[in-house]
Amino acid sequence: MNAAALLPELIIGLGAIALMLVAAFLRRPSVVTHWAGILLLVAAAVALVGAPQNAGVLFGGMWAADAFAAFGKVIIFLSAAVAIVMAHGWFERDQEHGAEYPVLILFSALGASVMVSANDLMMLYVGLELQSLSSYVLASYRRHDERSAEAGLKYFVLGALASGILLYGISLLYGFAGTTGFAGLASAFAGPNGSSLGLLFGLVFTLSGLAFKISAVPFHMWTPDVYEGAPTPVAAFFAAGQKAAAILLATRVCLEPMGPATQNWQQIVIFAALASIVLGAVAAYGQNNIKRLLAYSSINNVGFALVGLAAGGRAGAEAVLIYIAVYVVMTLGAFLCVLRMRDADGRPVESLQSLSGLSQTRPALALALAMFMFSLAGIPPLFGFWPKLMVFQAAVGAGLQWVALAAAALTVVGAYYYLKVIKIMYFDAPAEPYAPARSGLETALIALTALLISPVGYFLINPLSTAAANAASVF
């Protein structure tokens, strides 16, 4: 047994339990747990370095400690850390920043980390549920706020349904393949009965359950409501870390156990991809709430990531990884800007109208948000263009030119509402100014994320591509 390969998970898991105990004995637990949580996540990210993280399949085929998982975990841990940083400034004034928040984020990150390392359907389910249960609580964290409670309940009910669908799929796969291990499933799909009705049903149900988690159309309905209702830092974590974990999990499931059945899932993924892009673009137009808008933007972006997945193979996985890495940076940056939207009394505001004329009242913030919007839309020279390009490249390389063409044409539809945000900030007359910024750390994070997605980001192409290629080489 190679415990070193589990080091990041051990740090987070044991650390989270210890934090819960410590918090019970402290007078002001929130500050301590806050920083301890960040420290644990950074430590876990550092623990990802080293040979044991490339140890391959461990624990009787349950656990994959490979570069692919490590790539995902870096994203998950860092975005979880950012979610804790964001929470500090968000909850303080409301007197509800309890010690539980970082602990829940830690458990959620742990679950996400198990998801990307899962090499067995059971492990997958355990990770997914750990992650989801923490998320349900996080979504309703402001339990006195009706919207937050509604978000949590909605998320829980729909999430439970999705888990049921997923479990049903898993049981079908187990019944027809006789195993839950990814390697065994792959040989079952490659075998003579690979296209049997039972396996196909299992595949469809499993993918549907995962589609819920990544909020791909037609399983996206919860996303806008949950993002709107959940506290902003939580929504940021959902949109970034959690989504990254789910997409990487879906990638692994599609390419490893279902790799031989690529023909069977490809059309499903293509449909989900294009439908997500269309719906994410069209439905976002009528939104007047910035968080709902970002929710639709995340649906839209998931669609593009799925275009890369549809390409399949190593090139597809590489494109997905690059896409997710850049997407997470853009999303976190955008949510960090949303945190800044507070009226003079410090209450958070979420309407798009409140952004009016931001370029005149807060030019730097407006510039940063404009950059995130253009980047999410995939307009060069911002770095958000590069992952879209890689995804299209993968699709073209796999002979899916028409999918790439359709997705590219649909970026124009999506660009419309990103432009709307910029129009409000730059063209409209100034509205009431926001309260001044309070946290220097948040400002630094906004500046850092903005810098990363600026044209400066193109200097990162080489390391990013190398890391992604290395991670994708496990397939």
């Binding site: 307009i379 020279p381 490249q393 590219a408 432009l419 063209f427």
Partner: protein
């Protein structure tokens, strides 16, 4: 030459744009003017050190970003050189034109213009397919802001229309680029210009590129964004839009469509000719009935750009050289016309033609320059417009009589709408008291318009200065196209050699003197 002059020319405006954001209004104005003038000087240095008849690609720079797809590859040929000169020449004029006209959010305005300049230069310098795309697309952002923030009443609609129209064309091109990189294994433009794609594939690639360039050009029927954008944009924005951005479409045809997809280009020439014919006649007629000066000039741009497409797809030297000169000339002339509109707009704040009249009385200097640019737009011999349009039509006539007929119609209609415009504005009696009270050009306006007038005359009298750097490149393009050049539809007869011989013999014998 080891000095990376091209990178410096891209970096300088970027740095100046950044600097503008930290200055007050006047500081930003002077910084922008200084930076654009410095770039103009650099542009002249570039022209001076460009070796006419030297290697095809000069001032090459190669920096690898570590990916097979995208690299910092710069380099220019004669065509790019001339368009770069056009950009750096117009830019200080734009800054000058905005000196007083723009009084809100000046630092951002200047920054947007400088960013625009860096991106335009990047488009003409890029030698990597995706690098070109990035510059090409990125230009939408500053232009969107320029129209949207500093534009007229309907600016928001115009800004959206401009952005989304152009984006839709471009994304199709992006996918085609990816296919090309997949086929050729490289995104290096000089390599691709010599790469032979399968004819069947060329057809689709050509159409994808056409979608982008036709919108940018703009060609009928995808020109509808242009009148809106022009009318709503501030004066300097219109100048850059007409002067340089539209040229990117023509540049794209020369750089990509023709050399990379010669078979498809030949195959689809009827499409281009058809659209151009409609464009010339239809948009000229539309221009004739406009009540808004800027809209009239915008429609005339569409008509003039049709000469470019005619000339380019004539596949002969006259046509292509003519198209290039039309591009340069139109950049100057339409830019100058927009400036002329701006001059009187700054005084009366209306673009309605019916509000003016009789300006020749109280604004003689203005009437003179406006007349010159009107004539250049019409194509009067001695101005730049004549050279380009004549060559382009000659080239067209060699391959298509019908094309030439429509093109000529365009010239007649062009004279009609431009002279009608000039008549209504400059002659007769002033229709409003304000128009009568307007004062003539001040020194700043003279400084803006006189250099353009000088270059327009220079290009009209001695176009060789501008044709010389491009001649070798046109030659290379023609060699590349030789295989597919269509036979003309003119049927020259061999005449009557016998009669001529007899006549000459008679002359020799001195019979004619009897």
């Amino acid at each position: 030459m080891s000095f990376p002059i091209l990178s410096v020319m891209i970096a300088l405006p970027l740095l100046a744009a950044l600097g503008c954001l930290f200055l007050n209004a006047n500081g930003a104005r002077w910084l922008a003017l200084g930076a654009t003038l410095a770039l103009f000087v650099l542009g002249l240095v570039l022209w001076g050190s460009y070796q006419v008849g030297g290697p095809q690609w000069q001032f090459m720079e190669r920096v690898s970003l570590g990916t097979p797809y995208l690299n910092w590859n710069l380099g220019i040929d004669g065509v790019a050189l001339m368009l770069i000169e056009l950009s750096v020449f117009l830019m200080p004029i734009c800054i000058g034109a905005s000196w007083r006209a723009i009084d809100k959010r000046v630092p951002e305005y200047m920054a947007a213009f400088l960013l625009m300049e860096a991106l335009m230069l990047g488009v003409f310098m890029a030698q990597d397919l995706l690098l070109f795309y990035i510059f090409f697309e990125a230009g939408l952002i500053p232009m969107y802001l320029i129209i949207g923030i500093w534009g007229g009443v309907e600016r928001i609609k115009a800004a959206y229309k401009f952005f989304l129209y152009t984006l839709l064309g471009s994304v199709l091109m992006l996918i085609a680029m990816l296919v090309m990189i997949g086929q050729a294994g490289t995104g290096d433009i000089p390599t691709l210009m010599a790469f032979n794609f399968a004819p069947g594939l060329q057809y689709w690639l050509w159409l994808a590129f056409f979608a982008s360039f036709a919108v940018k050009m703009p060609m009928w029927p995808v020109h509808t964004w242009l009148p809106d954008a022009h009318v709503q944009a501030p004066t300097a924005g219109s100048v850059i839009l007409a002067g340089v951005l539209l040229k990117m479409g023509g540049y794209g045809f020369i750089r990509f469509s023709l050399p990379m997809f010669p078979d498809a280009s030949a195959q689809l020439t009827p499409l281009v000719f058809g659209l151009s014919s409609v464009a010339i006649v239809y948009t000229s007629l539309v221009a004739l009935v406009q009540a808004d000066m800027k809209k009239l000039i915008a429609y005339s741009s569409v008509a003039h750009m049709a000469f470019v497409t005619f000339g380019l797809f004539a596949f002969n030297r006259q046509g292509i050289e003519g198209a290039l000169i039309v591009m340069l000339s139109h950049g100057l002339v339409s830019g100058a016309l927009f400036l002329c509109v701006g001059v009187i707009y700054d005084r009366m704040h209306t673009r309605e033609i019916a509000k003016y009249g009789g300006l020749a009385d109280n604004m003689p200097g203005y009437a003179l320059l406006f007349l010159l640019f009107t004539m250049a737009s019409v194509g009067l011999p001695g101005t730049s417009g004549f050279v380009g349009e004549f060559l382009a039509m000659m080239g067209t006539y060699k391959v298509s009589t019908w094309g030439a007929i429509f093109a000529t119609t365009g010239i007649i209609l062009g004279a009609a709408y431009m002279l009608y415009l000039y008549w209504r504005i400059s002659y007769g009696a002033a229709r409003t008291a304000e128009a009568k009270a307007m004062v003539d050009l001040d020194r700043r306006e003279w400084l803006l318009l006189a250099p353009i007038a000088a270059v327009v005359l220079w290009m009209g009298v001695y176009p060789e200065s501008f044709l010389a750097p491009m001649r070798a490149d046109v030659g290379r393009l023609l060699t590349r196209l030789e295989r597919v050049t269509p036979a003309g539809d003119s049927r020259p007869t061999s005449g009557n050699p016998e009669a001529t011989k007899n006549h000459l013999a008679l002359l020799d014998a001195g019979e004619a003197h009897r």
